[in-house]
Subunit: 465 residues, 2 copies
Amino acid sequence: MTSKKEPFEILVSSVRRYINAGVKSRLWKFLSKLRTEDIARVLDRLVFENKKIIFELLKEKDIPMLAEVLSEIDPEDAVELLSDLSPKEISEILNEFSSDDAAELLSEFPEDLKEKVIQCMNKEESEDVKELLQYEEDTAGRIMSTDFYALEENTKISDAVAAIQLATDVEVPFYLYVVDKDYRLVGVVSLKKLLLYPPNTKLKDIMLKDIIYVSTDTDQEEVARKVERYNLVAIPVVDKNKKLVGVITVDDVIDIIREEATEDIYRMAGVVEGERIQDPVFDSLKKRIPWLMLALLTTFFSAIVITYFEGVIKNAVILAALMPLVAALGGVAGNQTNAVVVRELSMGDFDWRMGRRLLLKHFLLGIALGIVVGLGGAVFIKIAYKFLQATIGLKVGLDAGIVIIFGVGIFFNILNGLLMGTVIPMTFRFVGLDPALSSNMFVSMFTDTFGFFVFLQLAKAFYHV
Amino acid sequence: MTSKKEPFEILVSSVRRYINAGVKSRLWKFLSKLRTEDIARVLDRLVFENKKIIFELLKEKDIPMLAEVLSEIDPEDAVELLSDLSPKEISEILNEFSSDDAAELLSEFPEDLKEKVIQCMNKEESEDVKELLQYEEDTAGRIMSTDFYALEENTKISDAVAAIQLATDVEVPFYLYVVDKDYRLVGVVSLKKLLLYPPNTKLKDIMLKDIIYVSTDTDQEEVARKVERYNLVAIPVVDKNKKLVGVITVDDVIDIIREEATEDIYRMAGVVEGERIQDPVFDSLKKRIPWLMLALLTTFFSAIVITYFEGVIKNAVILAALMPLVAALGGVAGNQTNAVVVRELSMGDFDWRMGRRLLLKHFLLGIALGIVVGLGGAVFIKIAYKFLQATIGLKVGLDAGIVIIFGVGIFFNILNGLLMGTVIPMTFRFVGLDPALSSNMFVSMFTDTFGFFVFLQLAKAFYHV
């Protein structure tokens, strides 16, 4: 939030300087001192040809380090960087990935290249990846890691400790999962507990049996909610037979939560998920056009309403100046409500009881807001036009009738906005769609159309035209 | 997302049934079998008098359990539930809280009650809480936990293990922090490492010295970004002298990320942060009115523009029907862009170089989208009005001139929308404000005003009126 130059900015500048200087040995010396996460973050900021330079350098110098960097950057960038290599070369890099990261990246590859790369990979690694890829996208099975600790329930603490000492290829284990002889998950032991009991104690005697777990087909958002709710750092994944097949760690959960929030924000604004700021113009164009065409359709309803009242406007053109305000205020009120309801629906639990309560609350709030803003709007418009007459000599006067119609129109359209902002996302939820699809555009369609209609209809009735 | 009855829904119904039956012993028997996190989640769904019943029951039966439940529910609800108790009673419950949760709750109390409660608390607990409360809100110091593991660097592994075995009041330690004799943070050791080396090894010989940490005054969003970037499960907090004073765990980080995302969504929709769906109507009213009044002001600019073109509209009332479409399409395009830019700015790093690239991209995208939607809009409106004439006998024809003006107006306003959607949040960022404050309202103000202006000005020039 500050405009001071942060340490990271200096890092980015340094890398750019080394790249421009063109001396690879010095660039490598600099990069090799950095954390892989920081290299990944620097990479995100460079143009593609510079990304490629660092990619080539790491590929030459340190494949495991390259693998770590690639698993941290945007998957689409990683795919693009890898695309020039042969399946054999790609597989050598992917062998160094954790199985879940490898599967994530491979799922972005074209189908035939994916198959070829998997064939070239290490047997163990390729089997893990193939297993992960068989699960649906966005499920626990797809994002879980198959590198985890599990020991049989009759294992003694001393043997468990020895096993941990031997295992080097597994990420820091926070929990030790305990399975029965059929590999079914039966308990969990924290590393701390291993330190607390005598070495010959069996795991089954100290394990916690009340385990929180998910199935391979659990939706990733549900996984995130469970980890969040029970303050876990990892959650085990079981298959249909309750066999332990994987583990999901909290860093993946954080990614899911971020993704989900971005999706909500994008959907509410009518942006296709997955649009990235660094997309080429043509890609963004393709992603944006459908929504804009839909917007053309939805806003057309208000044009029909206005056309219908053509005669009324011809007799009092001031109506044309005021009607967008009535529509816009309903839209703002509707979109405020929509944001609150959508966010609540996408995070929390929901039932009819809550729906009724929400609707009642927004009905009352709509009446109250409608009265306050309607009155405020009427007073404001009267004063504002007086002011414009006095200062810039605007030649339009507002008679009392129009001021009253304006205020009443605002009242009805704000009430309308609050009801639409509540009903539309709830309807989406009840028919099984993401409430965030209830975008500003849909709410505005109703508030615009109704706003123009109620205002012009009131004017028509009042002026008998 | 599904409409099937989930296990949790059955839980909520059961609790409601037990409450209605009024037999406390059976309600208690049921609750005592649940996890505290689940009780908290059930509580969130009950009306206040039922929350109160469970609160009283837990207070009578199990104060530590009550403390756990209270630290999991919405802090405002917790404060309300506690508000009837004496400072002494409140302090007894808060003694069971972790220091960071206690501080969070106390900061929601009225000042005098807060002081009284702190005075009644255990000495150790009250000192921790007082220390936390001296830090600014939303900083690492405020949210850190002061219950953590730290050992001197010359400690032997065997002594470290003994110390862990003795410590029972500390949350599961994933990392062991290592300090020098002045309590300055010098390293970190994972529990796994304690198992890998001989018992008489000193911590300083096995510790990782390259520690990622934050200061007490680090903004909580920066804390979240660090934990996320380096895939940590906890991060140590140091004071000005690099003394270790606390630890922030990943579950708090998840809360921050959620909060931040909600704040972005709310701000973009012009909702005051902290508005909750369960707020009383009057509270929501107070929170919403300022933004709506601001919206009245911003939309008034478009009314001035339209008033200025009164003569043009009188001569061709069809303009009044089409101008909202030109304005709305610019608004949709602007809000799409705004959402992408705001989200990117609030998550990622940003510099002038990126700003220039963004602006250039959206300029080109604006031209491309403007051409496509402008052409599409012109063709659509021609066909749509023809269709309405043929079917419902609408008596308005569109001459070629108006159709062309409509398309050109859309072109310019979409380009305008993309530029505003980029420039406004970037400007907010550069003056040190949250880009998310660049709400739909501000973007719409520009796209409405400019949309009406460009369309009506084109019409005026074309028709020489």
